[in-house]
């Protein structure tokens, strides 16, 4: 699969690996500089040795069409449902905003998700000073900021709460945060809401798939195996 028309939008979706009897894993990237490439060049190839892996480009990202609106998590969870309609129940790995959409998707479609891996999820208020985007924002990122509702959608998005996470009880959940990430405390929130969730702190910042690739990859692989997902 490469390009898929869904919900009136042309999406780009990458499939790796093959059906093996294990649940597929759908890997969701973060906003702005994220794309299917975020996983394609980091963790996905190793996971694809044992299962099918799907990497969608969110609207406005990678090679998917840029829409003027629809960057709220409810709309993006509906995008995800459309882009995975042909799959059996699947595990999700979400980085950053991809983790937020993953939680909203799992709540909206309880039977569709077999396991949830949250990679540096932005579930806590963060002091983003020193973590701002580079001064020179060019190309697709600048277009997202100036031509779409993404900034206002993001500002209006209600944060994921402990109560919301608690509704996922029974689902295998892994939270991995960066030791230097502004969202490090999100692991504590996940632990309060879901005492059985596995939690790890890896040396690195927000982009753990890049900065901690060598440790994140086996961690996610083992979690998917243990979750029987």
């Amino acid at each position: 699969m490469a390009y898929v028309r869904a919900r009136g939008i042309r999406f780009h979706v990458v499939d790796l690996g093959r059906d093996t009897g294990r649940s597929p894993v759908v890997m969701l990237h973060g906003l702005f500089t994220g794309s299917a490439a975020s996983w394609f060049f980091t963790v996905a190839p190793a996971l694809a040795r044992t299962r099918r892996v799907r990497l969608p480009d969110w609207r406005g990202h990678g090679l998917t069409e840029r829409t003027p609106t629809g960057y709220d998590t409810a709309t993006m969870a509906d995008d995800l449902a459309a882009l995975t309609a042909d799959l059996p129940p699947f595990a999700i790995t979400g980085h950053s905003y991809g983790a937020t959409v993953a939680v909203r998707f799992a709540r909206a479609h309880p039977g569709r998700t077999t396991a949830l891996a949250l990679v540096d999820p932005p579930f806590v208020e963060a002091d983003l000073r020193g973590h701002t985007v580079p001064d020179v924002v060019r190309g697709a990122v600048a277009d997202l900021l100036t031509l779409t509702s993404l900034p206002s959608d993001l500002a209006a998005e209600p944060p994921v709460t402990a109560a919301e996470l608690a509704e996922l009880a029974g689902l295998p959940v892994l939270a991995v945060v960066g030791s230097g990430s502004p969202f490090r405390a999100a692991a504590d929130l996940v632990g309060q809401a879901l005492p059985t969730a596995r939690r790890h702190v890896l040396t690195g910042g927000h982009d753990l798939h890049i900065t901690a690739r060598a440790r994140l990859t086996p961690l996610l692989g083992a979690f998917l195996e243990e979750a029987h997902a």
Partner: protein, 124 residues
């Protein structure tokens, strides 16, 4: 099996589809050309190239396994020659090592409503 020069020509052709002819006209692409440093290939464009490679050569080129065995610096510094050497080696590998392209699930559109034909030229 194809001589390396044929693979190089095919890779350059696919690269042209991905980044556009105007862009590549100013570049002399050879084995030493680095995708990132010389061509400024964005990572998602590299993904698009990988998808074309798989459509052209089938699963036997095992691009994902190729990537999985490299560290990020190696991926960042990959040259056209690194890629064509891998492709040539895979194409020369015994056939029982991997299914033929026609048998590859990813080489054809997935069945069902969510599938759509690939649109190779749309982003050229």
């Amino acid at each position: 099996m194809r001589p390396d020069n044929d693979v190089l020509a095919e890779v350059v052709e696919m690269l042209t589809e991905v980044v556009g002819e105007d862009f590549l006209l100013e570049q002399e692409v050879g084995p030493d050309t680095a995708f990132n440093a010389d061509l400024g290939l964005e990572s998602i464009e590299f993904v698009a190239l990988a998808e074309r490679l798989q459509r052209r050569y089938g699963r036997r080129i095992e691009f994902a396994a190729f990537i999985a065995g490299m560290d990020l610096d190696q991926i960042m510094n990959m040259t056209v020659g690194d890629l064509t050497a891998h492709i040539s080696a895979r194409l020369a590998a015994p056939a029982e090592d991997a299914p033929a392209p026609d048998a590859a699930p990813d080489a054809v559109p997935a069945p069902g409503a969510a599938s759509a034909p690939a649109a190779p030229a749309a982003y050229a």
